[in-house]
Symmetry: none
Subunit: 219 residues, 2 copies
DNA sequence: TGTATAATTTACATTATATTTACAGAGGTT
DNA sequence: AACCTCTGTAAATATAATGTAAATTATACA
């Protein structure tokens, strides 16, 4: 199964650690950062499925992070804050928070809300997860055969597989590599296809004209 | 703007009235019912965008309502309950609640959460629109088979599905694409029909002479 | 009424244009 | 040398417009 990745932005390192441990025990993959800057920069490099965001951060306020996340990435954000006043809540929702929990809270309630917010974003699991394609470390295998991808190719294919129930736009793919022209993707797709074809004798990546690319196992 | 319709299921008539008044003042259209049975039967007759559900109801528990709503209608449900214990919350989420608020709460927070849950739902058009046809991202699926529509075709079919209870005029359809002659629709309809037929072996789009087109799943 | 005919609307094929994608090669970086 | 991005170009695809056939509705008239 593809892991659900959570970005935890929380400046209190003790709280962050215990939270993180709990989330890992739930089977999530967790990345912890302790300031707004790291929170934002991590979002651009990695793909997270959900963000847990404290409002009280040392460099910028959580609202600033919220603004960036919602504008650029549109990832669901659960605000976790000690502020229980109405204004903080309203402001958070206004800036695009998906949920708001007042500290202290029950960890199990957090887990429940994480699942709710995850499923809202990708409720439809049309197909079961890939059996044949497996992501192991920084490589992707097809039935025990390594595809032998480069780093950029890996990042692209990984994202395509993760989003396989929907079309992934060129821009989205471009974001995981350094692509100013917006056309570096062209060649990577070509090369990934070649490598997939060599191993599997399939296409697997379909171009959706004007939209992006779609990963389909049987193709 | 299209009216947002809220179904309020709350047995305390005094509380229901004040809540209802507040929601109306927010610009929502509110239907109040006071028991589980009425809550369920109202959902089958009318289309609501969101449900506010009290757990403590005279005939059945709110969980029963939740079960039915989520199975049959998949409408977002915000549980509003005096129960503040963890178990009630977990149970509600397990049964598919979208959110949970403990009474008493700030009305403005409720309004914010209503908006959040509305927008989450609109991102993904689920069963509301169609049983078999699902709109996912920029594609439309029929029972897990992608129709493989172009962007224009997608826009047109999406509108037809959205308006499936009524006839959509040619002009209206033309508005979602760039159509000066008023006849570009002709070809798109033809092509969409071909693609639908290929996958479903049905027609699904009926021409209403002199009026427009009507989407019907069984045709 | 019933039927033939005219008018309108819809279906379909074709064409020209515009946009997007595939691919190959150049040049830069590590 | 391996990898990556950029650029130019060819191939593929999408789309609106147009012409014409088929279908539907309206009208005329017995």
């Amino acid at each position: 199964m593809l892991d659900t990745k959570i970005l935890l932005v929380e400046d209190d390192e003790v709280a962050a650690l215990s939270l993180s441990e709990f989330l890992v025990s739930c089977g999530f993959e967790v990345k912890s950062v302790f300031c707004a800057t790291d929170g934002i920069s991590n979002m651009s490099n990695f793909e997270f499925d959900i963000v847990l965001l404290d409002l009280n951060l040392p460099d910028f306020s959580g609202f600033e992070v919220l603004k960036v996340l919602k504008n650029k990435h549109n990832v669901p954000v659960i605000v976790i804050s000690a502020f229980s006043d109405l204004n903080s809540k309203l402001k958070a929702f206004k800036f695009g928070a998906s949920d708001y929990m007042v500290k202290p809270f029950d960890l199990e309630e957090l887990e429940a809300r994480i699942w709710v917010n995850l499923s809202k974003n990708s409720q439809i699991n049309l197909k079961e997860d890939s059996e044949a394609f497996k992501i192991i470390g920084s490589q992707i295998y097809f039935k025990n055969s390594m595809l032998d991808l480069t780093i950029s190719e890996f990042k692209i294919l990984k994202l395509l597989i993760k989003n396989k129930q929907r079309v992934t736009s060129r821009e989205e793919l471009g974001r995981v590599i350094y692509d100013k022209s917006g056309r570096a993707i062209d060649n990577h797709i070509k090369n990934i296809r070649k490598k997939i074809k060599k191993i599997t004798n399939r296409e697997c990546i379909k171009a959706i004209y004007g939209v992006g690319y779609l990963f389909k196992e049987d193709l």
